[in-house]
């Protein structure tokens, strides 16, 4: 039960962070990606703030053998820089630039009431299926 409450709180704080930082504002994201036009560098500061806090939490957790409410840390184990990593990330970036949405902000702003976001989220979920259900897939333990 407490695991579920903590996961809900994490999602809630994550969502508030996306709204406060305006990661959930597509025009702001496109302004950040528009380095040759009218560039808005703000979102680099989102990354700085988030990285500093998560980095401190991750590296300080290395002294512990297990998380507080679970039996083990699900540290991603994959190490290879392989073609799916590069190709998938490039494809994701094209969709990100076309819309201004990455997955977290899309979920959060689907609650804002604009039906076009629902089109994006439905398409995103549909787009997830082929690679997830591909033939001969490897198991991807602790994926990022």
């Amino acid at each position: 039960m407490s695991r579920i409450v903590v996961a809900f709180l994490s999602g809630l704080v994550f969502g508030v962070g996306l709204i406060v930082s305006q990661m959930s504002n597509p025009a702001k994201v496109i302004g950040f990606l528009d380095i040759t036009g009218s560039w808005d560098p703000s979102l680099a500061f989102v990354m700085v703030g988030a990285l500093a806090v998560f980095g401190a939490a991750y590296w300080s957790s290395r002294r512990r053998s297990a998380p507080l409410l679970s039996s083990r840390f699900g540290t991603p184990t994959e190490r290879n820089i392989d073609p799916p990593l590069v190709a998938g990330s490039l494809i994701f970036g094209v969709g990100w630039g076309l819309s201004g949405f990455c997955p977290g902000p899309a979920v959060v702003s689907s609650a804002f009431g604009d039906w076009r976001v629902w089109v994006f989220v439905a398409a995103m979920i549909l787009g997830m299926l082929p690679y997830r259900f591909r033939l001969g897939r490897r198991s991807i333990p602790g994926e990022a």
């Binding site: 994490s10 704080v13 806090v53 507080l68 094209v94 949405f101 979920v107 995103m124």
Partner: protein, 141 residues
């Protein structure tokens, strides 16, 4: 190039909140708060270790709903793309994040925070193709 609409303080505050959320999930559950993996897991592996994933997604939705109902003036949202463009973009984001094992949160925040070379490469890739896409859409005739 000119710099516009620069809001470093709210960006940093929001970033710290995102960092606290990812830190909480890591310290309590030992899980990476990567939204594409959380969503992909819920959608395609029903019955697996999904209770926490559903709760996390519910938190995201409640944040959006709460903000727009309680403090609508604080919600900045400006979406220019039409439904057709968003349909294509959504398919690409869904497919690409599963093929690349992560998105802005899983690779960009948690992965880089762990100094994962994979995540650094992934983040450079989606930043580069995102910037190139915006250049093509916004500046080519």
């Amino acid at each position: 190039m000119s710099v516009v609409n620069f809001t470093p303080v709210s960006a940093l505050v929001g970033g710290v909140l995102i960092g606290l959320a990812t830190a909480l999930l890591w310290w309590a559950l030992g899980r990476i708060a990567g939204v594409s993996s959380v969503l992909g897991g819920v959608v395609t592996e029903p019955g697996a270790d999904n209770a926490w994933r559903v709760a996390f997604l519910a938190g995201l939705l409640v944040a959006g709903l709460g903000a727009v109902l309680l403090v609508p003036g604080a919600v900045h949202f400006d979406l220019k793309a039409g439904a057709g463009q968003l349909l294509i973009a959504g398919l690409l984001v869904g497919f690409g994040t599963q093929m690349g094992s992560g998105c802005t949160s899983g690779h960009g925040v948690c992965g880089i925070g762990r100094f994962s070379l994979r995540s650094i490469v992934a983040t450079l890739c989606f930043m580069a193709s995102g910037m190139l896409t915006v250049f093509v859409v916004e500046h080519l005739p």
